[in-house]
Every structure is written in structure tokens, then in C-alpha cells.
Symmetry: C3
Subunit: 461 residues, 3 copies
């Protein structure tokens, strides 16, 4: 079944070994436990600064980290299993590229954010950030799902993590923009990056694989596992690295209400745009999550619960409409095929979230934030910039992100066109048999297994 | 396939938009961050009361909240996917009505419990309570699953949340009853409310949809995802709003042992009541959870681990017997059809749990509770009532709850009979095609593939 | 379908009732809340030792506990659903025996570790340890999956928990070995115990059930739910009972990187050993987890992140190779059939993990550990042994564990051969119909639905 070109017997092991060994060497040279993770350093900290174990950041962030971790590996992984014949590739390539990306981004982000005395110091916060970065890679994966080999995906992860790190560094450290839940750094970047990769890898003959692009009944239920976990833990995602105390709690609450409102908007629009008023699982699986994306920047700000609801409601609305009206245009006019609709879930809501963040920053006042201003807008609190200027920086951060995503995605997409990376032929996209040993029922079956029956056996029941 | 009556193209969007906009307006007028969620207020708290960020209730309750959240959306949602042709409706209508109920109950519970200076102040505890309330709605949903439209379900949620709030206020604030895990307020209320709604919506011709009422092999496995998550996180459910320290830990432990014992009882009875001694997945999916329900009131009390085991064991026993002996009677004699068997999982174990709570309250002594009495029975600790009187109040609370549930459920059931709410016809209950775009394999597949095939239909695909 | 011998109508209820009642009686006599769980004792603690509720161990360990709990019931349970016709038995017998084992091991471990003044005192840590012990039982279950009755499994749990407790006591309390994540006590013990049980229960005619030993497409996806949850929460598993502060955080981080590296190794080797370079779901489902097993002993030590990666990489490598080369030899030469491949996931990586722990202990220096030495190697810190001697003890602990597992497993395997325990016939292994009421599609469906095909359609794909 698999042609020579997609036989990865040597290429995939070589790629995995090289990446892993290279990573191990760089870790050996550069990466060290930080002062909260090292036995000696933490006990010095306890002694010298009169701290208690409770002050270890672990207890503030580990529950959130585990929720984020679940989103990355269960949430993204199962969300993509909606395809009828690509369940293995969806959940397992998601697993592979995220397992690599968290290691690689620990290095890249470490060089930019915690490089001191020639070493990168890591702890619970770097683990959250590494998971965040792999989230962006998985969003891009959603755009090209079913049309790329694991070799291509690993190469994309290697390059995209690096560009993610540079973009994030410019936004957070140079521009002083705030983006705790990543409306810009994660969602906007990941979506437009992936869309550009998909554009560069455009296949005019993809219709040959058209029959595999839909779902079956149970694959839609598997996808709902992903959806619900993403929805549930998005409050943890947005709050995982905000400041301790009110900031974490407020971010959680804003995200909770934004998601609830986006869910109602999604059901409403999904029924409205169908001729018979029937709901569409694709919308529920995706657009209901837009409420999490849209408050990724502003969730830690004094958005107010009703403000979060309005944001979520609008995000669910544009996201559902995007599936119906924008995706077809992207495909027909711009030759951008977006397997999972990441433009609708991450792209447009991410941009909206960035604009909302800029608005909230501009509106920030001492009266509303009190001493909490130092946590949310430190540069405003210490007087080095005005709220309006902070808002301008937020806006500027969005444009930089779009630029990085579009240019970076184009370059990486071009790189993935190199021959010999094991890309599936046009007739075998969205098909697990290309890269996987599959059980007998999948070989020539599934859809047919359900439909065609030996009547003699059936009646014997 | 869907008749005009079940076409929700305008009704569902209208309902969702109205409810959401109405909620947003009420939130804008009334709802504010509480002092642990507001940037200004929490930082004043930090400064003026010499607190640290660790004192923020967020760190005591957020992990429990996320477990509860998972129970509501994954636990309830997937538990109901056991139906062979109603998986979309189960998990997604669960999603819709819970997403609305958490918003609406934040308002209703807020008016009763945290209304000060004309505003409702919300934080992590109100989020947990909102999730709790939506749990009651989802229990009622279980009784009517497959027989109602999403419009009817949203209307039920709107009204039931309101009545839930009133009943809870009477129990906790007026009667001074204790019910941290909601044996009364959540389980008993939700179950009998739902059963009365189901009674009012009784369909004499429901046999026309009989063939869809069972499961298929994989739908039973999807349901087990729901079951196991409910089972795992029930200790968090019962302890989520108990007092800090020993109370949370004790409630967790009691629930853990109660659930373990109810699991063994369920397997035992399930084999015992089958002629061939075979186990029944319906029992395992449901009755094994009765151990969580039965310690909903008493879990925070000094129940002792072996006491928790006895309670759980009895609950698993009566719950399994209920599926075999009580449900058929409810249906044939009382015309109450209970799709998910909520009477067995939430109704009877809830009542048993309320009685157990009354018993434990009556037996409470200073010797056993020490200074911890103030957390568990504050009115006994401060001398304003005796333990025996507390027990009487607990008992009284049960009867009030039953009254509210039965009368409220009847009224709401009557309201749901209004024409034009999109209810499915008798021949199309338990069928996703009524409200959903479904994949091809579901169209005339699945059921038919499984049971008998109409060869003409299959070939027409 | 089920012969008299497998009819459990009286046996299973009798077994469950007896075990549960016996446990309840022992709990009533011996088990009490510890000082952090009891209302009176904790409030005395608060008062007399100037503690705050935050000092309650609950807040340090409950999030980790819930992750471990999820691994035991979702992780192990769903991992085993890969079999096409044994999904009910996999997830539900897992549920049953774990629900019993956590109760029984609370008693056994309690007698050894927290027996004071004639009572066992329990709290959050005993709950974690009880879950750990049931993990070992479930590993053994994996070796005999599909070939044993629930009666046999409960009997195995009863005996294995007891032997687990003795072995653990010798290792931790007498030898002073360290094994926080259980490379030895849980993984090595559970695997070799289960393999010996499987050896004793060897069925020469098992080929009669051969067609049921594989997976179908969706059963492999259900199994991935188990895999991913085990992978995600393994950092919590290894850190759940380590010392507060840096130890918990460091263990989490080591496990996180070890797992990531073992994932890449697994994908690499899986492609490499297939003629067509196709990936194998069995490898991904299992070997990717070996990185968690291999740092079970050393995770809390100063392993360094790159050290963890090397360990995980090697573990993934030998585990995947084990599926290909070692399992067939075990079966053909040693007559050990290992349904889930626990030798590859838990056995070999467990031994490797024990050796790694011995090495790390030997290399421990005051310079690296500082005052943290007292948490990791208390006997080295207080001068009662050298690091080299600690390493020797670790090594000795491995051999004791292997001895206990092999001898204990043999004895228990022999006990399970007693007639009348309801073991399935050779023709009905890996088949849910033996012990379960199954939905109609499973009766003679599924497999047949899968195998019987309209040849014309199939070839056209």
C-alpha cells in the first residue's frame, strides 16, 4: 500500500535519533535546575530567605500545568481524531511532535528568558511555557493535518519553535506587551503560520482523497473528548503563568464566562446557518472554544465578567460563521486548505483577542487596578509608560506576530516541499494506512463494514 | 427527515441569543469581582490584613473546582452517550445546558448568597456552586434524555436553576442544614424534579422508538469514560466547598472509601440478579457511583472510614436493585420513564444520604469534633442549637427538597408541554438525526448495520 | 454461550460480599482518621503548634493524588481496551480489582507503616500509597488480561496486595531503600509477579482464541486515552509522595523529560523494526510510557534534565525492542504469555530504573544535594551510611523485589488454578460475552461485521 516514497523505515528513526541526541547534548551543556528545583539551591533559599516549602512556585502552578498538559496531549490530540480514517495519525503525531516541541522549546525559550551565567535555569514555569509553545505548533499541525508526513511535522516543529521563541521574546521582553494566555503568541501565530505552510503545500489534486475528509459517528465522539477537555481547562491555560493571587483567579473566571457565552453563540449560529436548522458537530467541536482564545490576552485584565461574556459571545459567533463562509473562500480563492479550521478557532478569535487586549490596556486606570496594576501592567505601574502607550504596544505586537507568522510559515512551508520527506501522495491523504500498521477492520473497511452486511449472518442474531 | 415541528432554525438561535443577552445585561448591572478576584480589592486585602497570596481561596479550591468542572462536562456528558444513536445529543446538549446553567445560577445563587450593596460578588466559590447547580439540571436531563428538544432543555434549565436556588437558600441559610456535597440540594432535588418532568411529558407511544433505547458495544465504552471520571472526582465534588483543612481532607477520604465499597456491591448484585450470572454494563456505569451520592451530606462529618464503606455498600446495593426492580415499576405503574435511571443513581441514594446526614448530625458530640465542630456544625458549636435539633433540621430539609422537586418538576413539566418547542415525535426519540447533521455511516447505518439490514436501503447509499 | 463453569451468579457475589464485609470489620476495629483528617486532632494541631490550614498535607498532595487516581482507573483501564472484544472486561475488571485493592492495601500498608497504639491512622498519603499498590496489581492484571475470571482476579488482588506490602516494608523500612515512584516496588514487582502468574496459568490451546487477541481501529483509539493519561500524569505519580518543595518539583521535571525522550525513541524504533517502516500502535501505546517507569526510583534524585532524557530514551528503546524480540521468546521458550506486554513496559524498564537509582545513590554528594540531602537520602545525610552503601542497598532491594515477585507470583498462580474459580475456556478467552451481557452488535457482530465484506467494495478502496 505504501509506496517507496512514504516508507519511513530509515528516515523517521534517523530524524528522531538526531533531534533527540542533539537536544540531549544541548541540555547537558546548558540546562540546569533552577533554584526552586535544585536540592541544594532550594534549601539555601529556605534557610537564607526564611521561606517555607509553600512558597515554592510548584504549589501555585502545578495544578494549572497539569491542566495545560492535558489540553496539549488529550485536547489537541483527540480534537483532531474527527477524521474517519486518520485517528492514529491525529492523536499519535500530535503526541510525537508535542513530545519533541516541549524539549526544543525549553532550550529556545530558555536562551531568551532564563539564560544567566551561561546556563538556562528551568522549573515549573519553563515547563508551562514549553507546553504553550507546543500548543502553537499543534495549531499549525491542525491546518496541515492528514497532508504531511511525520518527518515534515518534526521539521516544522524544529523551525516553528525557534521562530515562536523569537517572536515571543520581541513581544514580551522588548515591546513589553502582555499576552499571558497567548492570543497573539500562541493562537494568532500558530494559526497563520500553519495556514501559510498549508498554502505552500497546496495540492491541486487533493480531491482524490475527498471521501476520507469527513467523520464517522464515533470519530466525532472521540473528537468531543478533545473539545470538552480544551473547554474545561482553558481557564487554567490562560491563568497558568499570570501573577499569583487575584490575577490567577480573575483570569480563570473571565475565561470561564467567556467560554460559556461562546458555547451558546455557537449553538445559535450553527442552527441558524443550516437550511433545516440542524446543528453541525464541526461547529460545536471548534467554535465553542473560541471563547478561550479571545480572552487569551485580556483574561488577566479587569475585563469584568460581563465583558468576558461579550467577548466570548462574539468569538463564538465569528468562529462559527468562519466555518460556513470564510473557510470556503480561503480554499477557493487563496488555495489555503485548513483541515481542522484553525483559522476559525485560533486565527480570527486570536486577532480579536489581541485587539481586545489593546483596548483593555488603553482603558486601564489606577482606580480600577489599585496596587494590582504592578502585576498586570508593570510598565504602567512604575510610570515608564501610559496606559494608552501600553495599548499601542499591544496593537503593534499583533502586527509583528502576523508578520512573523506569515513570513515564517511561508519559509517553513517552502522547506517542507523538499523531496524525500515522505509526504503522502494526493490519493492517500487523511489515511492512516500510509504510515501505520492498521487493524483488519480498517484495511478495506470501516465505512463499508458499517454499511454492507452478510445478510445470512445478520439474521442469525 | 426532520419534520417542520423539529426544525429549530429560528427557535434555537432566538432562545440562545435571548438567554445570553439577558444574562449579559444582568451581569453588567449586578455582578462584580469579589475581593479575592479584583486587582484593587485583593491588593488592599494583602496590605491591610497582612495576608499573603497563598491565603487567596483560589489555592484551596481551584484543583477541586477543575475536578467538579470535569464531572459536569465530561462525566455527565459521556455517561449519557451509552445510547446507540444519541451520542451527539448526549454530550452536546449536556454541554449547551450546562454552559447556560452555570451563568444563570451565578446570578440566582448570587442574589441569595452574596448580594451586598446592590451587587453580587463572585469568585472561585461561586464558580463551584454554579457548577453544582448545573449538576442538578443535568441529573434531570438524564431522566428525559432523548425525548426533549434543546429548546425544552434550555427552558427547563432556566426554571430549574431558579427553583434550585430558592430550595438551596431555604435549606442552607434559613434551616441551617448542612449539605456540602448536595445529597439533598443536588441529587434528590435533581432526580425527583427530572422524574416529575418526565412524568408530565409521558409518551404512551414511546415504544415506537424502542429499538434505539439500547447501546452498542462502543457506546458503552464511551459511557464508561463518563462513569470513571465521575467516580474519580467525586471526592473533589463532596469536598469542594467544605471548610479548609481537615474538613476537605476528611470529606475526600470518606467519599473515596464509600465509592470503593459501592463498586463491590454493584458488581455483586449485578451478577446475582442475572439468570446466567452475567454482569450488566448499565449497573456498573451507574450504581457504582451511588457511593458518592450517599455521602454527599455526611462526607464532611466524622463518618469514620468504615462508616463510609457501609454507606457506600448499601447505596450500591439499593441502586443496582433499583435498576432491576424499581425502574420497571416506575414505568408501568407511575408512567415515569427514566432514560438514564437517575432515580437509582441520584434519587434513592440521595434520600439515603440525607437520612445518613441527619443521623450523623444527631450523633455529633464535642468529644468527637473538638474545635472542629465550628466548621461542621457552626450552630451547634456556638450553642444556638443541639445536635439532635440539627438532625431534625436535616430531616426537615429532605422533605422540603422533595416537595420543591415534585411540585417544581410538575410545573416545569407542564410548561414544557407548550406546543412549538420542537419536541421530537414518538418515532424519533433517542435519535440524533432529528437535531444534528450526522455522518453518512449514521444515516441508515449503525443501527441497521448492527441489527438487520434492509438490503435495499444499504445499496442506495 | 457461557458454560456452567463460568457462571458466576453465586460465586462473584459471595466473593465481593465476603471481601467487603471482612474489610469493613477490619476497618471498624483498626482504622482511624489521622491527625490531619480528624476534626478534633487537626484543630488541636492548629492551636497547639501554631499551624495554619495551609500546612495540612492535603494541599501539598491532593492534586497529585487525583492525577494518580486518574492513572489507575482511566489510564490502566483504558490502556487495556485495545482488545477488540474485551473492552468491558478491561475497563470494568480494572475498576473492580482496583476498588478492592485500594481498601485492602490501606489495611496492609497501614499495619506496616502507620500502626500506632493498636490503630492504623490514615490520610491523604495513605490514599496515594493505596493507589500505588493497586497499580502493581493492575500491572499483573495486564499480563493475564482476558484469560482469568473476576473471581481469580479478586483472589490475586487479595494475595498480591499482601505480598506487595511485605516487600515494600522490607525495602523502605528495613533496607532504607528509596523508591518514591516505585520502579522496584510497583513496576518490577507487578510485572514479574504477573508474568509468573501467567506462566502458571499457561494454556497450550490458547490459539483457539487467537482471532480475538488483536484490536480494531476504534479499540486502539480507546486505548490511546489510557496511554495519554498515563503519560501526562506520570510526573504526578513519581512525585506524589516525595518530600515537599524542591523534591516534588524536581521529580516532576525529571519525569516530564524522561517521558518526552522515550516517546521519540519509541517512534524511532517502531518504524525501524517494521519492514515497510510503518508505525505500530502497540508500541506507541506502551513503550512511550517506559520513560515514566525508568525514573521511578531516581526521579527525586539530582538526575539532571539531560540525565532524565538519556534514561527515558534508553527505556523507550529497550521497551519497543522488547515487544518485537523479547515477548515472542518469553512465549515460545518460557511459556509466558503477556497479553499487554507488561514485561516490556514495566518489567525491563523497572529493572533499569532500579539500577539507575542505585547508580544515582552511589554518586550522591553533599556538594550537589546540600541540605536537601536529608530529604532524598536521610540515612546518608545523618551519617549513618555512605552514599556507596546506599547504592548497594538499592541494588539489594532490586534482588529482593525480584525474588518476592517470582516466588509470590508462582504461589499465587498455583492458587488460581484451583477448580471452580470460573476461568474462561480456551475457546472463550479475550471475550466479553463470557462474563457480560453484551449489546446486540457484539453478539456475533463486530468481528464479523469487520471480517465479512462485500469484496467488490473492499477492493475498490
Amino acid at each position: 500500500m505504501s509506496s517507496h516514497a512514504t516508507n519511513l523505515r530509515l528516515k523517521l528513526p534517523a530524524m528522531c535519533f538526531l533531534l533527540q541526541l542533539f537536544t540531549i547534548i544541548l541540555f547537558a551543556v546548558f540546562v540546569r535546575y533552577d533554584q526552586e528545583t535544585s536540592a541544594r539551591l532550594w534549601h539555601e533559599e529556605l534557610m537564607n530567605h526564611n521561606k517555607s516549602n509553600l512558597d515554592n512556585d510548584f504549589y501555585f502552578r502545578y495544578p494549572s500545568f497539569q491542566d495545560v498538559h492535558t489540553m496539549i496531549f488529550i485536547g489537541f490530540g483527540f480534537l483532531m481524531t474527527f477524521l474517519k480514517r486518520y485517528g492514529f495519525g491525529s492523536v499519535a503525531f500530535n503526541f510525537l511532535i508535542a513530545a519533541f516541541a516541549i524539549q526544543w522549546s525549553t532550550l529556545i525559550q530558555g536562551f531568551f528568558h532564563s539564560f544567566r551565567d551561561g546556563k538556562i535555569h528551568i522549573g515549573i514555569e519553563s515547563m508551562i511555557n514549553a507546553d504553550f509553545c507546543s500548543g502553537a505548533i499543534l495549531i499549525s499541525f491542525g491546518a496541515v493535518l492528514g497532508k504531511t508526513s511525520p518527518i515534515q511535522l518534526l521539521l516544522m516543529a524544529l523551525l516553528e519553535v525557534t521562530l515562536f521563541g523569537i517572536n515571543e521574546y520581541i513581544l514580551l521582553s522588548i515591546l513589553g506587551a502582555k499576552d499571558a494566555g497567548g492570543s497573539m503568541t500562541i493562537h494568532t501565530f500558530g494559526a497563520y503560520f500553519g495556514l501559510m505552510v498549508s498554502r505552500l503545500l497546496y495540492r491541486p489534486q487533493l480531491d482524490k482523497s475527498k471521501e476520507r475528509q469527513g467523520s464517522v459517528y464515533h470519530s466525532d465522539l472521540f473528537a468531543m473528548i478533545g473539545t470538552i477537555y480544551l473547554w474545561l481547562f482553558w481557564p487554567s491555560f490562560n491563568s497558568a503563568i499570570t501573577a499569583h493571587g487575584d490575577d490567577q483567579q480573575r483570569t480563570v473566571m473571565n475565561t470561564y464566562f467567556s467560554l460559556a457565552a461562546s458555547t451558546l453563540a455557537t449553538f445559535a449560529i450553527s442552527a441558524l446557518i443550516d437550511k433545516e436548522g440542524k446543528l453541525n458537530m464541526v461547529h460545536i467541536q471548534n467554535a465553542a472554544l473560541a471563547g478561550g482564545v479571545v480572552v487569551g490576552t485580556s483574561g488577566e485584565m479587569m475585563l469584568t465578567p460581563f465583558g468576558a461574556m461579550i467577548a466570548g459571545f462574539l468569538a463564538g459567533l465569528i468562529s462559527t460563521l468562519g466555518f460556513q463562509f470564510v473557510s470556503p473562500i480561503l480554499e477557493s480563492r487563496l488555495k489555503v486548505r485548513d483541515t481542522c479550521g484553525v483559522h476559525n478557532l485560533h486565527g480570527m478569535p486570536g486577532v480579536l483577542g489581541a485587539l481586545l487586549g489593546a483596548l483593555l490596556a488603553t482603558l486601564a486606570t489606577q482606580d480600577v487596578y489599585g496596587d494590582g496594576m504592578a502585576d498586570v501592567f508593570p510598565l504602567v505601574a512604575d510610570g515608564s509608560r501610559t496606559a494608552a502607550y501600553q495599548g499601542t504596544c499591544q496593537l503593534f505586537a499583533l502586527f509583528i506576530t502576523l508578520g512573523f507568522a506569515v513570513i515564517g510559515g511561508s519559509l517553513v512551508g517552502a522547506a517542507l516541499k523538499i523531496k524525500g520527506l515522505g509526504s503522502p501522495p494526493d490519493t492517500q491523504c487523511f489515511e492512516d494506512q500510509v504510515y501505520w500498521e492498521v487493524p483488519e477492520d480498517h484495511h478495506n473497511g470501516y465505512l463499508t463494514a458499517v454499511i454492507h452486511e452478510d445478510p445470512e449472518r445478520s439474521t442469525s442474531i
